[in-house]
Protein backbone atom coordinates (compact mmCIF):
# COMPACT_ATOMS: atom_id res chain seq x y z
CA UNK A 1 0.00 0.00 0.00
CA UNK A 2 1.38 3.40 -0.85
CA UNK A 3 0.76 6.22 1.56
CA UNK A 4 -1.50 8.68 -0.29
CA UNK A 5 -1.22 12.44 -0.42
CA UNK A 6 -4.92 12.91 -1.05
CA UNK A 7 -7.92 10.96 0.16
CA UNK A 8 -7.88 7.65 -1.66
CA UNK A 9 -10.12 4.64 -1.74
CA UNK A 10 -8.30 1.38 -1.21
CA UNK A 11 -9.31 -2.25 -1.28
CA UNK A 12 -7.51 -4.14 1.42
CA UNK A 13 -7.86 -6.71 4.17
CA UNK A 14 -8.62 -5.77 7.76
CA UNK A 15 -5.25 -7.20 8.80
CA UNK A 16 -3.37 -4.95 6.39
CA UNK A 17 -5.49 -1.93 7.28
CA UNK A 18 -4.56 -2.43 10.94
CA UNK A 19 -0.87 -2.72 10.05
CA UNK A 20 -0.93 0.39 7.86
CA UNK A 21 -2.96 2.27 10.47
CA UNK A 22 -0.31 1.39 13.05
CA UNK A 23 2.55 2.59 10.88
CA UNK A 24 0.69 5.84 10.18
CA UNK A 25 0.09 6.22 13.91
CA UNK A 26 3.83 6.26 14.45
CA UNK A 27 4.23 2.63 15.51
CA UNK A 28 7.92 1.89 15.10
CA UNK A 29 8.24 -1.44 16.81
CA UNK A 30 6.42 -4.62 15.94
CA UNK A 31 7.11 -8.14 17.18
CA UNK A 32 4.91 -11.10 16.36
CA UNK A 33 4.62 -14.78 15.66
CA UNK A 34 2.69 -16.18 12.69
CA UNK A 35 -0.78 -17.56 13.30
CA UNK A 36 -3.83 -17.78 11.03
CA UNK A 37 -6.03 -15.77 10.48
CA UNK A 38 -3.81 -12.75 11.05
CA UNK A 39 -0.66 -13.52 9.08
CA UNK A 40 -1.28 -10.69 6.62
CA UNK A 41 -0.72 -8.20 9.45
CA UNK A 42 2.62 -9.72 10.42
CA UNK A 43 3.73 -9.94 6.77
CA UNK A 44 2.69 -6.36 6.07
CA UNK A 45 4.80 -5.18 8.99
CA UNK A 46 7.78 -7.20 7.72
CA UNK A 47 7.53 -5.48 4.35
CA UNK A 48 6.76 -1.95 5.44
CA UNK A 49 8.28 -1.35 8.88
CA UNK A 50 11.81 -1.02 7.41
CA UNK A 51 10.56 1.71 5.03
CA UNK A 52 9.91 4.01 7.98
CA UNK A 53 13.02 3.02 9.91
CA UNK A 54 11.07 0.92 12.38
CA UNK A 55 11.81 -2.49 13.83
CA UNK A 56 10.13 -5.73 12.79
CA UNK A 57 10.97 -8.90 14.67
CA UNK A 58 9.54 -12.35 14.03
CA UNK A 59 9.91 -13.57 17.56
CA UNK A 60 10.50 -17.10 18.81
CA UNK A 61 7.11 -17.14 20.54
CA UNK A 62 4.06 -15.07 21.39
CA UNK A 63 5.50 -14.75 24.88
CA UNK A 64 8.73 -13.25 23.59
CA UNK A 65 6.80 -10.92 21.26
CA UNK A 66 4.74 -9.33 24.03
CA UNK A 67 7.84 -8.96 26.20
CA UNK A 68 9.71 -7.29 23.36
CA UNK A 69 6.79 -4.89 23.10
CA UNK A 70 7.10 -4.34 26.86
CA UNK A 71 10.78 -3.46 26.34
CA UNK A 72 10.10 -1.17 23.39
CA UNK A 73 7.41 0.65 25.39
CA UNK A 74 9.84 0.95 28.32
CA UNK A 75 12.24 2.65 25.90
CA UNK A 76 9.53 5.01 24.63
CA UNK A 77 8.54 3.51 21.27
CA UNK A 78 5.02 3.20 19.97
CA UNK A 79 4.92 -0.59 19.93
CA UNK A 80 2.56 -3.31 18.83
CA UNK A 81 2.08 -7.04 18.63
CA UNK A 82 -0.69 -9.06 17.05
CA UNK A 83 -2.02 -12.57 17.11
CA UNK A 84 -5.12 -14.72 17.15
CA UNK A 85 -6.81 -16.47 20.06
CA UNK A 86 -4.34 -19.22 21.12
CA UNK A 87 -1.44 -16.80 20.67
CA UNK A 88 -3.23 -14.13 22.68
CA UNK A 89 -3.59 -16.62 25.54
CA UNK A 90 0.19 -16.94 25.56
CA UNK A 91 0.60 -13.17 25.73
CA UNK A 92 -1.55 -12.76 28.83
CA UNK A 93 1.35 -12.77 31.29
CA UNK A 94 3.05 -9.96 29.41
CA UNK A 95 -0.17 -7.99 29.04
CA UNK A 96 -0.68 -8.13 32.81
CA UNK A 97 2.84 -6.72 33.32
CA UNK A 98 2.24 -3.98 30.74
CA UNK A 99 -0.99 -2.99 32.46
CA UNK A 100 0.65 -3.09 35.89
CA UNK A 101 3.63 -1.00 34.78
CA UNK A 102 1.23 1.41 33.02
CA UNK A 103 2.96 1.13 29.68
CA UNK A 104 1.31 2.00 26.37
CA UNK A 105 1.03 -0.82 23.84
CA UNK A 106 -1.37 -1.99 21.16
CA UNK A 107 -2.35 -5.63 20.75
CA UNK A 108 -4.43 -6.88 17.86
CA UNK A 109 -6.46 -10.08 18.26
CA UNK A 110 -8.20 -11.51 15.20
CA UNK A 111 -10.21 -14.12 17.04
CA UNK A 112 -10.60 -17.68 15.80
CA UNK A 113 -12.56 -20.70 16.99
CA UNK A 114 -11.63 -22.17 20.36
CA UNK A 115 -11.13 -23.50 22.97
CA UNK A 116 -7.78 -25.22 22.64
CA UNK A 117 -6.18 -25.19 19.24
CA UNK A 118 -9.71 -24.82 17.86
CA UNK A 119 -9.72 -23.95 14.18
CA UNK A 120 -8.87 -21.03 11.92
CA UNK A 121 -12.41 -19.84 11.27
CA UNK A 122 -13.79 -16.62 12.72
CA UNK A 123 -15.15 -16.46 16.25
CA UNK A 124 -15.86 -13.98 19.03
CA UNK A 125 -15.12 -16.25 21.94
CA UNK A 126 -12.29 -14.21 23.51
CA UNK A 127 -14.66 -11.48 24.72
CA UNK A 128 -14.31 -12.52 28.36
CA UNK A 129 -10.53 -12.74 28.08
CA UNK A 130 -10.27 -9.33 26.41
CA UNK A 131 -12.69 -7.36 28.55
CA UNK A 132 -12.30 -8.89 32.00
CA UNK A 133 -8.51 -8.76 32.21
CA UNK A 134 -7.23 -11.99 30.68
CA UNK A 135 -4.13 -12.39 32.80
CA UNK A 136 -3.65 -12.29 36.57
CA UNK A 137 -4.56 -9.31 38.72
CA UNK A 138 -7.12 -6.50 38.66
CA UNK A 139 -6.63 -4.70 35.40
CA UNK A 140 -8.36 -3.75 32.20
CA UNK A 141 -7.38 -3.32 28.60
CA UNK A 142 -9.12 -0.72 26.52
CA UNK A 143 -10.88 -2.91 23.96
CA UNK A 144 -11.89 -1.47 20.58
CA UNK A 145 -14.15 -3.52 18.31
CA UNK A 146 -14.03 -2.48 14.66
CA UNK A 147 -16.72 -3.87 12.36
CA UNK A 148 -15.39 -2.67 9.01
CA UNK A 149 -12.00 -2.37 7.36
CA UNK A 150 -12.42 1.41 7.60
CA UNK A 151 -12.87 1.16 11.35
CA UNK A 152 -9.99 -1.29 11.66
CA UNK A 153 -7.76 1.36 10.10
CA UNK A 154 -9.17 4.35 11.99
CA UNK A 155 -9.41 2.62 15.36
CA UNK A 156 -5.83 1.36 15.15
CA UNK A 157 -4.58 4.88 14.61
CA UNK A 158 -6.61 6.02 17.57
CA UNK A 159 -5.51 3.04 19.67
CA UNK A 160 -1.95 4.39 19.85
CA UNK A 161 -3.19 7.78 21.04
CA UNK A 162 -5.39 6.16 23.68
CA UNK A 163 -2.55 3.90 24.82
CA UNK A 164 -0.36 6.96 25.35
CA UNK A 165 -3.10 9.12 26.86
CA UNK A 166 -3.99 6.55 29.50
CA UNK A 167 -0.65 4.69 29.61
CA UNK A 168 -2.60 1.49 29.18
CA UNK A 169 -2.58 -1.44 26.77
CA UNK A 170 -5.24 -1.22 24.06
CA UNK A 171 -6.61 -4.24 22.24
CA UNK A 172 -8.06 -4.20 18.75
CA UNK A 173 -10.54 -7.06 18.97
CA UNK A 174 -11.64 -8.35 15.59
CA UNK A 175 -12.10 -11.81 14.16
CA UNK A 176 -11.11 -13.89 11.16
CA UNK A 177 -13.77 -12.26 9.01
CA UNK A 178 -12.55 -8.73 9.63
CA UNK A 179 -8.91 -9.79 9.40
CA UNK A 180 -9.17 -11.59 6.09
CA UNK A 181 -11.97 -9.78 4.30
CA UNK A 182 -11.14 -7.11 1.77
CA UNK A 183 -13.27 -4.01 1.72
CA UNK A 184 -13.04 -0.62 0.14
CA UNK A 185 -12.15 2.11 2.58
CA UNK A 186 -11.00 5.68 2.63
CA UNK A 187 -7.41 6.41 3.49
CA UNK A 188 -6.71 9.99 4.43
CA UNK A 189 -3.29 11.47 3.73
CA UNK A 190 -0.77 9.97 6.08
CA UNK A 191 0.45 12.13 8.87
CA UNK A 192 2.75 10.42 11.29
CA UNK A 193 1.36 10.97 14.71
CA UNK A 194 3.34 11.36 17.84
CA UNK A 195 2.21 11.29 21.43
CA UNK A 196 1.01 14.73 22.46
CA UNK A 197 2.79 14.68 25.79
CA UNK A 198 6.46 14.02 26.42
CA UNK A 199 6.92 10.65 28.03
CA UNK A 200 8.34 11.37 31.46
CA UNK A 201 8.48 7.77 32.63
CA UNK A 202 10.51 6.00 29.95
CA UNK A 203 13.99 4.55 30.37
CA UNK A 204 16.51 6.06 28.00
CA UNK A 205 19.52 6.59 30.25
CA UNK A 206 19.52 8.87 33.27
CA UNK A 207 21.35 11.78 31.68
CA UNK A 208 20.67 14.92 33.74
CA UNK A 209 18.06 13.27 35.90
CA UNK A 210 17.63 10.67 38.61
CA UNK A 211 17.50 7.04 37.47
CA UNK A 212 14.01 5.73 36.80
CA UNK A 213 12.61 2.33 37.60
CA UNK A 214 9.72 0.56 35.90
CA UNK A 215 8.31 -2.10 38.17
CA UNK A 216 5.15 -3.84 39.27
CA UNK A 217 6.66 -5.58 42.29
CA UNK A 218 5.64 -3.92 45.53
CA UNK A 219 6.43 -5.86 48.67
CA UNK A 220 6.05 -3.14 51.26
CA UNK A 221 2.71 -3.31 53.04
CA UNK A 222 0.03 -1.20 51.38
CA UNK A 223 2.13 -0.26 48.36
CA UNK A 224 0.53 -2.68 45.92
CA UNK A 225 -2.92 -1.72 47.13
CA UNK A 226 -2.07 1.90 46.40
CA UNK A 227 -1.03 0.94 42.86
CA UNK A 228 -4.33 -0.87 42.45
CA UNK A 229 -6.28 2.11 43.76
CA UNK A 230 -4.48 4.28 41.23
CA UNK A 231 -5.23 1.85 38.41
CA UNK A 232 -8.87 1.62 39.39
CA UNK A 233 -9.17 5.40 39.49
CA UNK A 234 -7.74 5.48 35.98
CA UNK A 235 -10.22 2.82 34.84
CA UNK A 236 -13.13 4.87 36.23
CA UNK A 237 -11.84 7.88 34.30
CA UNK A 238 -11.63 5.81 31.10
CA UNK A 239 -15.20 4.61 31.69
CA UNK A 240 -16.34 8.22 31.92
CA UNK A 241 -14.40 9.44 28.90
CA UNK A 242 -14.20 6.70 26.35
CA UNK A 243 -17.44 4.78 25.86
CA UNK A 244 -18.37 4.44 22.17
CA UNK A 245 -21.34 2.80 20.55
CA UNK A 246 -23.61 3.03 17.53
CA UNK A 247 -27.36 3.07 17.83
CA UNK A 248 -29.90 2.82 14.98
CA UNK A 249 -33.71 2.78 14.91
CA UNK A 250 -33.98 2.29 18.65
CA UNK A 251 -36.66 4.94 19.39
CA UNK A 252 -39.69 2.92 18.44
CA UNK A 253 -38.08 -0.51 18.61
CA UNK A 254 -39.90 -3.47 20.10
CA UNK A 255 -36.72 -5.46 19.89
CA UNK A 256 -33.13 -4.24 19.79
CA UNK A 257 -30.43 -6.37 18.22
CA UNK A 258 -27.13 -6.05 20.09
CA UNK A 259 -23.89 -7.18 18.46
CA UNK A 260 -20.30 -6.06 17.90
CA UNK A 261 -17.68 -6.55 15.23
CA UNK A 262 -18.43 -8.91 12.37
CA UNK A 263 -21.64 -10.29 13.86
CA UNK A 264 -22.95 -6.72 14.10
CA UNK A 265 -22.86 -6.56 10.31
CA UNK A 266 -25.15 -9.56 10.11
CA UNK A 267 -27.40 -8.02 12.77
CA UNK A 268 -27.48 -4.72 10.85
CA UNK A 269 -28.52 -6.51 7.64
CA UNK A 270 -31.30 -8.31 9.52
CA UNK A 271 -32.46 -5.05 11.11
CA UNK A 272 -32.72 -3.41 7.68
CA UNK A 273 -34.59 -6.36 6.26
CA UNK A 274 -36.94 -6.48 9.23
CA UNK A 275 -37.73 -2.76 8.92
CA UNK A 276 -38.64 -3.31 5.24
CA UNK A 277 -40.98 -6.04 6.42
CA UNK A 278 -42.56 -3.64 8.92
CA UNK A 279 -41.05 -5.02 12.11
CA UNK A 280 -39.89 -2.44 14.64
CA UNK A 281 -36.35 -3.64 15.13
CA UNK A 282 -33.51 -1.51 16.46
CA UNK A 283 -29.75 -1.98 16.44
CA UNK A 284 -27.12 -1.33 19.10
CA UNK A 285 -23.42 -1.87 18.57
CA UNK A 286 -20.80 -1.40 21.29
CA UNK A 287 -17.64 -0.03 19.66
CA UNK A 288 -15.70 -0.07 22.90
CA UNK A 289 -16.14 -3.42 24.64
CA UNK A 290 -14.25 -2.16 27.64
CA UNK A 291 -15.42 0.31 28.73
CA UNK A 292 -18.79 -1.21 27.91
CA UNK A 293 -21.67 1.21 27.07
CA UNK A 294 -23.54 0.27 30.22
CA UNK A 295 -25.42 3.56 30.71
CA UNK A 296 -26.53 3.81 27.10
CA UNK A 297 -27.88 0.26 27.22
CA UNK A 298 -29.66 0.89 30.49
CA UNK A 299 -31.42 3.92 29.05
CA UNK A 300 -32.76 1.75 26.24
CA UNK A 301 -34.31 -0.75 28.64
CA UNK A 302 -37.95 0.28 28.54
CA UNK A 303 -41.19 -1.56 29.23
CA UNK A 304 -42.47 -3.68 26.31
CA UNK A 305 -39.06 -3.83 24.77
CA UNK A 306 -36.74 -6.80 24.46
CA UNK A 307 -33.11 -7.32 23.48
CA UNK A 308 -31.55 -10.00 21.32
CA UNK A 309 -27.80 -10.39 21.54
CA UNK A 310 -26.02 -11.95 18.56
CA UNK A 311 -22.50 -13.31 18.95
CA UNK A 312 -20.09 -15.72 17.36
CA UNK A 313 -19.65 -17.36 20.75
CA UNK A 314 -21.67 -19.41 23.20
CA UNK A 315 -22.72 -16.19 24.94
CA UNK A 316 -20.17 -13.81 26.43
CA UNK A 317 -21.08 -10.17 25.76
CA UNK A 318 -24.67 -11.08 26.63
CA UNK A 319 -23.56 -11.12 30.28
CA UNK A 320 -22.56 -7.46 30.11
CA UNK A 321 -25.83 -6.63 28.37
CA UNK A 322 -27.75 -8.33 31.17
CA UNK A 323 -25.67 -6.54 33.81
CA UNK A 324 -26.41 -3.24 32.09
CA UNK A 325 -30.13 -3.85 31.79
CA UNK A 326 -30.43 -5.24 35.31
CA UNK A 327 -33.62 -7.17 34.64
CA UNK A 328 -35.56 -4.20 33.28
CA UNK A 329 -36.23 -5.98 29.99
CA UNK A 330 -35.92 -9.50 28.63
CA UNK A 331 -32.55 -10.28 27.04
CA UNK A 332 -32.37 -13.15 24.58
CA UNK A 333 -29.32 -14.65 22.98
CA UNK A 334 -28.43 -16.31 19.73
CA UNK A 335 -24.90 -17.38 18.90
CA UNK A 336 -22.81 -19.78 16.92
CA UNK A 337 -19.38 -20.87 18.06
CA UNK A 338 -16.38 -22.92 17.00
CA UNK A 339 -16.11 -21.04 13.73
CA UNK A 340 -19.84 -21.13 12.96
CA UNK A 341 -21.31 -17.86 11.68
CA UNK A 342 -24.94 -16.88 12.28
CA UNK A 343 -26.75 -16.57 8.95
CA UNK A 344 -29.11 -13.67 8.32
CA UNK A 345 -31.89 -16.20 7.90
CA UNK A 346 -31.21 -17.79 11.29
CA UNK A 347 -30.97 -14.41 13.02
CA UNK A 348 -34.24 -13.34 11.43
CA UNK A 349 -35.92 -16.49 12.76
CA UNK A 350 -34.53 -15.64 16.21
CA UNK A 351 -35.93 -12.12 15.90
CA UNK A 352 -39.42 -13.52 15.27
CA UNK A 353 -39.06 -15.96 18.16
CA UNK A 354 -37.85 -13.23 20.50
CA UNK A 355 -40.69 -10.90 19.54
CA UNK A 356 -43.20 -13.67 20.24
CA UNK A 357 -41.64 -14.52 23.60
CA UNK A 358 -41.47 -10.87 24.61
CA UNK A 359 -45.14 -10.33 23.71
CA UNK A 360 -46.27 -13.33 25.73
CA UNK A 361 -44.25 -11.98 28.64
CA UNK A 362 -45.93 -8.56 28.43
CA UNK A 363 -49.34 -10.20 28.70
Amino acid sequence: MTRPTTIERKLTTGNEAIAEGAIQAGCRFYAGYPITPQNELCEYMARHMPEVGGTFIQSESEIAAINMVFGAAVAGARAMTSSSSPGISLKQEGISYIAACELPAVISNMMRGGPGLGNVWPAQSDYFQATKGGGHGDYHLIVLAPATVQEAFDMTKEAFDLADRYRNPVMILGDGILGQMMESFEMKPAKTRQPSRKKDYILDGCKGRKPRVIQSLFLEEGMLERLNDKLQAKYRRIERELVRYEELNTNDADLILVAYGSSSRIARAVMRDARVKGLKIGFFRPMTLWPFPTEAMRKLAKPKRAFLVIEMSAGQMVEDVRLSIEGRAPVYFYGRSGGGIPSEEAVFAEVRKALKKARSKVK
Binding site: R9, L11, I177, Q180, M181, M182, E183, S184, R265, I266, R268, A269, R272, I341, S343, E344, E345
Partner: protein
Amino acid sequence: MAIKQKTIDEQIIVAGFGGQGVMLLGKIIAQAGMLSGLDVTWIPKYGAEVRGGTAHCMVRVSNLEIASPLVDFPNSLIVMNKLSMDKFERLLRKGGIMIVNSSLVDSRATRSDIRSYYVPANRIASEIGDVRGANMVALGAYLKARPFLKIEKIVEALRDILPSYHHKYIPLNEKALSEGARLVEGRS
Protein backbone atom coordinates in the same frame (compact mmCIF):
# COMPACT_ATOMS: atom_id res chain seq x y z
CA MET B 1 -21.91 -0.66 -16.18
CA ALA B 2 -22.26 1.14 -12.92
CA ILE B 3 -25.69 2.63 -13.30
CA LYS B 4 -26.29 4.65 -10.17
CA GLN B 5 -30.04 4.93 -10.59
CA LYS B 6 -30.59 1.19 -10.54
CA THR B 7 -29.89 -0.83 -7.43
CA ILE B 8 -26.82 -2.98 -7.83
CA ASP B 9 -26.59 -5.75 -5.27
CA GLU B 10 -24.35 -8.47 -6.63
CA GLN B 11 -23.77 -11.32 -4.20
CA ILE B 12 -21.28 -13.66 -5.76
CA ILE B 13 -19.68 -16.93 -4.76
CA VAL B 14 -16.66 -18.02 -6.77
CA ALA B 15 -15.63 -21.60 -6.05
CA GLY B 16 -13.18 -24.21 -7.25
CA PHE B 17 -10.03 -26.10 -6.36
CA GLY B 18 -7.29 -24.23 -4.59
CA GLY B 19 -4.86 -23.09 -7.28
CA GLN B 20 -7.56 -22.36 -9.89
CA GLY B 21 -7.38 -18.67 -9.17
CA VAL B 22 -10.83 -18.34 -7.64
CA MET B 23 -9.60 -15.97 -4.91
CA LEU B 24 -7.96 -13.75 -7.52
CA LEU B 25 -11.09 -13.81 -9.67
CA GLY B 26 -13.12 -12.54 -6.71
CA LYS B 27 -10.56 -9.88 -5.86
CA ILE B 28 -10.60 -8.56 -9.41
CA ILE B 29 -14.39 -8.20 -9.32
CA ALA B 30 -14.10 -6.40 -5.98
CA GLN B 31 -11.32 -4.09 -7.13
CA ALA B 32 -13.15 -3.27 -10.39
CA GLY B 33 -16.29 -2.59 -8.37
CA MET B 34 -14.41 -0.19 -6.13
CA LEU B 35 -12.86 1.54 -9.15
CA SER B 36 -16.41 1.97 -10.46
CA GLY B 37 -17.36 3.83 -7.29
CA LEU B 38 -19.29 0.97 -5.74
CA ASP B 39 -19.15 -0.46 -2.22
CA VAL B 40 -17.42 -3.83 -2.23
CA THR B 41 -16.45 -6.65 0.10
CA TRP B 42 -14.48 -9.87 -0.47
CA ILE B 43 -14.05 -12.77 1.92
CA PRO B 44 -11.99 -15.91 1.37
CA LYS B 45 -12.77 -19.36 2.61
CA TYR B 46 -10.13 -22.00 2.20
CA GLY B 47 -10.23 -25.72 2.58
CA ALA B 48 -7.79 -27.38 4.94
CA GLU B 49 -4.89 -26.69 2.59
CA VAL B 50 -4.35 -23.56 0.56
CA ARG B 51 -3.70 -25.56 -2.60
CA GLY B 52 -5.56 -28.60 -3.76
CA GLY B 53 -8.48 -28.34 -1.33
CA THR B 54 -11.72 -26.61 -2.21
CA ALA B 55 -11.65 -22.88 -1.97
CA HIS B 56 -14.28 -20.24 -2.40
CA CYS B 57 -14.70 -16.56 -1.88
CA MET B 58 -17.72 -14.37 -1.35
CA VAL B 59 -17.89 -11.04 -3.10
CA ARG B 60 -20.47 -8.32 -2.72
CA VAL B 61 -20.73 -5.30 -4.96
CA SER B 62 -23.41 -2.72 -4.37
CA ASN B 63 -24.27 0.91 -4.92
CA LEU B 64 -25.72 0.89 -1.42
CA GLU B 65 -23.77 0.46 1.80
CA ILE B 66 -23.04 -3.24 2.35
CA ALA B 67 -24.07 -4.46 5.77
CA SER B 68 -22.88 -8.05 5.97
CA PRO B 69 -19.98 -9.14 3.77
CA LEU B 70 -21.18 -12.73 3.97
CA VAL B 71 -23.09 -14.31 1.12
CA ASP B 72 -25.51 -16.93 2.39
CA PHE B 73 -27.55 -17.04 -0.83
CA PRO B 74 -25.72 -15.76 -3.90
CA ASN B 75 -27.41 -14.28 -6.93
CA SER B 76 -24.36 -15.14 -9.02
CA LEU B 77 -22.26 -18.25 -8.88
CA ILE B 78 -19.05 -19.14 -10.69
CA VAL B 79 -18.12 -22.80 -10.22
CA MET B 80 -14.81 -24.02 -11.54
CA ASN B 81 -15.20 -27.69 -10.58
CA LYS B 82 -17.88 -30.33 -9.95
CA LEU B 83 -17.54 -30.30 -6.15
CA SER B 84 -18.30 -26.60 -6.08
CA MET B 85 -21.38 -26.95 -8.25
CA ASP B 86 -22.71 -29.74 -6.03
CA LYS B 87 -22.15 -27.58 -2.98
CA PHE B 88 -23.43 -24.20 -4.10
CA GLU B 89 -26.06 -24.67 -6.82
CA ARG B 90 -28.79 -25.22 -4.26
CA LEU B 91 -27.94 -21.92 -2.51
CA LEU B 92 -28.36 -19.79 -5.63
CA ARG B 93 -31.29 -17.40 -5.47
CA LYS B 94 -34.21 -17.93 -7.85
CA GLY B 95 -33.39 -16.21 -11.14
CA GLY B 96 -29.69 -16.17 -10.31
CA ILE B 97 -26.98 -17.02 -12.80
CA MET B 98 -24.44 -19.80 -12.68
CA ILE B 99 -21.24 -19.92 -14.75
CA VAL B 100 -20.05 -23.51 -14.99
CA ASN B 101 -16.53 -24.49 -16.02
CA SER B 102 -17.68 -27.29 -18.35
CA SER B 103 -14.09 -28.41 -18.93
CA LEU B 104 -14.17 -29.94 -15.45
CA VAL B 105 -17.91 -30.33 -14.84
CA ASP B 106 -19.62 -32.94 -16.98
CA SER B 107 -23.11 -32.63 -15.47
CA ARG B 108 -25.84 -30.05 -16.02
CA ALA B 109 -27.64 -27.83 -13.51
CA THR B 110 -30.41 -29.63 -11.64
CA ARG B 111 -32.50 -26.47 -11.24
CA SER B 112 -34.62 -24.79 -13.88
CA ASP B 113 -35.29 -21.55 -11.97
CA ILE B 114 -31.76 -20.27 -12.59
CA ARG B 115 -29.82 -19.33 -15.71
CA SER B 116 -26.79 -21.52 -16.34
CA TYR B 117 -23.91 -20.89 -18.75
CA TYR B 118 -21.54 -23.70 -19.64
CA VAL B 119 -18.09 -22.40 -20.46
CA PRO B 120 -15.20 -24.75 -21.28
CA ALA B 121 -12.86 -22.41 -19.48
CA ASN B 122 -9.83 -24.70 -19.18
CA ARG B 123 -9.93 -25.69 -22.85
CA ILE B 124 -10.29 -22.12 -24.05
CA ALA B 125 -7.55 -20.85 -21.77
CA SER B 126 -5.24 -23.61 -22.99
CA GLU B 127 -6.00 -22.70 -26.59
CA ILE B 128 -5.17 -19.07 -25.85
CA GLY B 129 -1.89 -20.17 -24.38
CA ASP B 130 -2.14 -20.74 -20.61
CA VAL B 131 -4.60 -22.90 -18.72
CA ARG B 132 -4.18 -20.60 -15.71
CA GLY B 133 -6.33 -18.09 -17.59
CA ALA B 134 -9.41 -20.31 -17.09
CA ASN B 135 -10.60 -18.04 -14.30
CA MET B 136 -10.50 -15.04 -16.66
CA VAL B 137 -12.52 -16.92 -19.28
CA ALA B 138 -15.14 -17.57 -16.59
CA LEU B 139 -15.02 -13.91 -15.53
CA GLY B 140 -15.54 -12.77 -19.10
CA ALA B 141 -18.58 -15.02 -19.39
CA TYR B 142 -19.95 -13.82 -16.06
CA LEU B 143 -19.67 -10.13 -16.94
CA LYS B 144 -21.38 -10.74 -20.26
CA ALA B 145 -24.27 -12.44 -18.48
CA ARG B 146 -24.33 -9.81 -15.74
CA PRO B 147 -22.99 -6.60 -17.28
CA PHE B 148 -22.65 -4.38 -14.19
CA LEU B 149 -18.94 -3.58 -14.60
CA LYS B 150 -17.07 -2.21 -17.61
CA ILE B 151 -14.35 -4.43 -19.00
CA GLU B 152 -11.92 -1.47 -18.85
CA LYS B 153 -12.39 -1.45 -15.08
CA ILE B 154 -11.50 -5.14 -14.98
CA VAL B 155 -8.29 -4.46 -16.88
CA GLU B 156 -7.51 -1.55 -14.55
CA ALA B 157 -8.17 -3.85 -11.59
CA LEU B 158 -5.80 -6.46 -13.02
CA ARG B 159 -3.12 -3.82 -13.18
CA ASP B 160 -3.76 -2.87 -9.55
CA ILE B 161 -3.87 -6.39 -8.19
CA LEU B 162 -1.30 -8.34 -10.17
CA PRO B 163 2.29 -7.78 -9.11
CA SER B 164 4.14 -5.73 -11.74
CA TYR B 165 6.21 -8.72 -12.91
CA HIS B 166 2.93 -10.34 -13.99
CA HIS B 167 1.72 -7.33 -15.96
CA LYS B 168 3.09 -8.86 -19.15
CA TYR B 169 0.26 -11.40 -18.91
CA ILE B 170 -2.46 -8.75 -18.96
CA PRO B 171 -3.01 -8.93 -22.76
CA LEU B 172 -3.43 -12.70 -22.40
CA ASN B 173 -5.96 -12.11 -19.65
CA GLU B 174 -7.84 -9.62 -21.83
CA LYS B 175 -8.01 -12.21 -24.57
CA ALA B 176 -9.36 -14.76 -22.09
CA LEU B 177 -11.99 -12.27 -20.88
CA SER B 178 -13.23 -11.54 -24.40
CA GLU B 179 -13.28 -15.23 -25.37
CA GLY B 180 -15.34 -15.94 -22.27
CA ALA B 181 -17.72 -13.12 -23.13
CA ARG B 182 -18.07 -14.40 -26.72
CA LEU B 183 -19.31 -17.77 -25.46
CA VAL B 184 -22.21 -16.11 -23.69
CA GLU B 185 -23.08 -13.78 -26.56
CA GLY B 186 -26.64 -14.10 -27.72
CA ARG B 187 -27.50 -16.73 -25.13
CA SER B 188 -29.34 -16.68 -21.94
